[in-house]
């Protein structure tokens, strides 16, 4: 296994977080909390794990990432820009008229986006079709889907989870961004999802629990998932909503609120400046 440059990954994740803050600030609306919590996971996927080519987004046999919690579009946009799918300047046009960066991901507008999402549960279901297609065509590319912990309250998620277990989709890895919060409060107060590990296991999944901000653990989990046969893998990643910006961390209020100019400045300073 190649030696991992953790310092580099950390810097990339910080750049992605800055992109999230800048783009949402420029848009005047958007979802920072659930974007920041997923930044380290997307960093590992796009800069360590996945076979993708920004110069050839439709490359045959590429690995595919599905942002099922589509409201976290800013983290995906910032990651794709960082990877070189499009210019970072685009980020400042987030949610503007005529921009390719829609409020929720649009596969027809943005290179590198595999399926349009925004309606919770939906992208994960589509990833089942992608994984089945890869199996049917005897391809060895992998499918990755990121879900929110509020999102898994959707019935569709469990329809898809059941199908993935039934069809033994070992080319599918799901990641649960378990930040413990949704819009109206903590998951446990709104509608508890626990016991979450047992739920996925009972649906026929191999489950790994990690700290979603620890690069070593994230990498190990993705590597491990590739070795699991006849089962899809769920990585339950314990995260912090708003991670990286002190005043946003673990604050339900920052789910869908845009930072104003001075807040954005403060956040960027914490992240090491522009």
């Amino acid at each position: 296994m190649a030696k991992v440059d953790y310092e580099k990954l950390k810097n990339i994740a910080t750049e992605i977080r800055k992109g999230i803050i800048k783009s949402i600030n420029a848009a005047g609306s958007g979802h920072p909390g659930g974007s920041l919590s997923a930044a380290d996971i997307l960093t590992v996927l796009y800069f360590y794990k996945m076979k993708v080519d920004p110069k050839n987004p439709k490359m045959e046999d590429r690995d595919r990432f599905v942002l099922s919690k589509g409201h976290a579009a800013p983290v995906l946009y910032a990651t794709l820009a960082e990877k070189g799918f499009f210019s970072k300047e685009e980020l400042l046009k987030l949610r503007h008229m005529g921009s390719m960066l829609q409020g929720h991901p649009d596969m027809k507008k943005v290179p590198g986006i595999e399926i349009s999402t925004g309606s919770l549960g939906q992208g994960f279901s589509c990833s089942i079709g992608m994984a089945l297609a890869a199996k049917l065509d005897k391809k060895d590319n992998r499918i990755y889907a990121l879900l929110g912990d509020g999102e898994v309250q959707e019935g569709l998620v469990w329809e898809a989870a059941m199908a993935a277990g039934h069809y033994k989709l070992d080319n599918l890895t799901a990641i649960l961004d378990y930040n413990g919060m949704q819009i109206d409060g903590k998951n446990d107060e709104v509608m508890t999802i626990n016991p979450i590990k047992e739920k996925w296991e009972s649906f026929g999944w191999y489950v790994i629990e990690i700290d979603g901000h620890n690069f070593e653990e994230i990498i190990k989990a993705f590597d491990k998932a590739e070795t699991i046969k006849d089962k899809p893998t769920m990585i339950i990643a314990k995260t912090i909503k708003g991670k990286g910006v002190s005043f946003m961390e673990n604050q339900v209020g920052w789910h869908g609120t845009a930072p104003k100019d001075e807040e954005a400045e403060k956040a960027l300073k914490e992240l090491g400046g522009c």
């Binding site: 297609a133 569709l156 069809y167």
Partner: protein, 312 residues
């Protein structure tokens, strides 16, 4: 018009024929493959058939995922659950991204019969018609149903097609041409036009016979594509015959009647009457009893024709 075949039977057979010539075709079902007739495809091509269980939303999401990988997905369940339970997934996962998924919905309309109102989709055409990018088909008989399946596969994008449970008369020859978006003038006539869709085309033809006995010559048009609708054939009929009756096995709100009315009001308003269920749920019964009770027979169409002619 002697032989009777259900359009779902034709659908199942056509899928097998299509599967033989097109390797990209995958078929998905939600535990109804014996009823939707996709079981025939499953038997022939087990590795390209996917039973998703009783999970209609995931059926559509999975079909969308397949389509992003270059497959042509045929996803089947009853019309009620396709257009109802899975509506939002069809809208957001399939239509928004213009994906190559064919939603093939069987057991549509009142002729589902004994299962009753919970299974009689009478609003599916309206719901599907309102989604951007969605093409909406409703073939009239077994021959056009088979042609519709091949036309759908040729067309790159989302299509909803309705198929029926009950056996209905075969009205077309094997060499009929089915072009998405093009209506068919099945019978000529100058006094009035009956524009029908699905199994109501056969009723319209019967109505025409009844009317001929009274000296009224009705043109009969089969609108197998509810969307995009063939405006040209409708406007021409309005100009040449001056009165229109629409006939559909669907609520009079939102389906064929509404679509035709939209075309006429903007182009050539003429007296018009809609035959369909009158904004009501159905009930259990034999298909022919229900057709009678809910006002969907040839006699009802003939009555409506006389009304509109009087308003000319």
């Amino acid at each position: 018009m002697s032989e009777k075949i259900a359009t779902r039977e034709a659908y199942g057979k056509a899928l097998v024929d299509l599967g033989k010539v097109n390797e990209k075709v995958v078929v998905l079902d939600a535990d109804l493959s014996k009823s939707t007739k996709t079981a025939t495809f499953k038997k022939e091509f087990p590795n390209r058939f996917f039973n998703m269980g009783i999970a209609e939303q995931n059926l559509m999401g999975t079909a969308a995922g397949f389509a992003t990988c270059g497959k042509i997905s045929f996803a089947s369940t009853f019309a009620m659950f396709a257009s109802g339970r899975a509506f939002e997934i069809i809208r957001n996962s399939i239509c928004y991204s213009n994906l190559n998924v064919k939603v093939c919905a069987t057991h549509a309309g009142i002729t589902v019969g004994e299962d009753g109102a919970s299974h009689q989709a009478l609003e599916d055409l309206a719901i599907m018609r309102a989604i951007p990018n969605m093409v909406v088909l409703n073939p009239a008989d077994a021959v056009s149903a088979k042609k519709a399946v091949f036309a759908m596969a040729e067309y790159d994008g989302p299509v909803y097609s309705r198929f029926g449970r009950a056996a209905v008369p075969v009205i077309y020859d094997e060499d009929m041409e089915f072009e998405i978006g093009k209506g068919i003038e099945v019978k000529e006539g100058k006094d009035v036009t009956i524009i029908a869709t699905g199994i109501m085309v056969a009723e319209a033809l019967e109505a025409r016979e009844l009317l001929l006995k009274e000296g009224i010559k009705a043109r009969v048009i089969d609108i197998h594509t509810i969307k995009p609708i063939d405006e040209e054939i409708i406007i021409k009929a309005a100009k040449e015959t001056g009165a229109i009756v629409t006939a559909e096995e669907h609520n009079i709100i939102g389906g064929l009647g509404s679509a035709v009315a939209e075309v006429l009001t903007e182009n050539k308003p003429v007296p018009m009457k809609r035959i369909g269920t009158k904004d009501t749920f159905g009930e259990s019964g034999k298909p022919n009893e229900l057709m009678e009770k809910y006002g969907l027979t040839a006699a009802h169409i003939a009555e409506a024709v006389k009304e509109v002619i009087n308003k000319k």
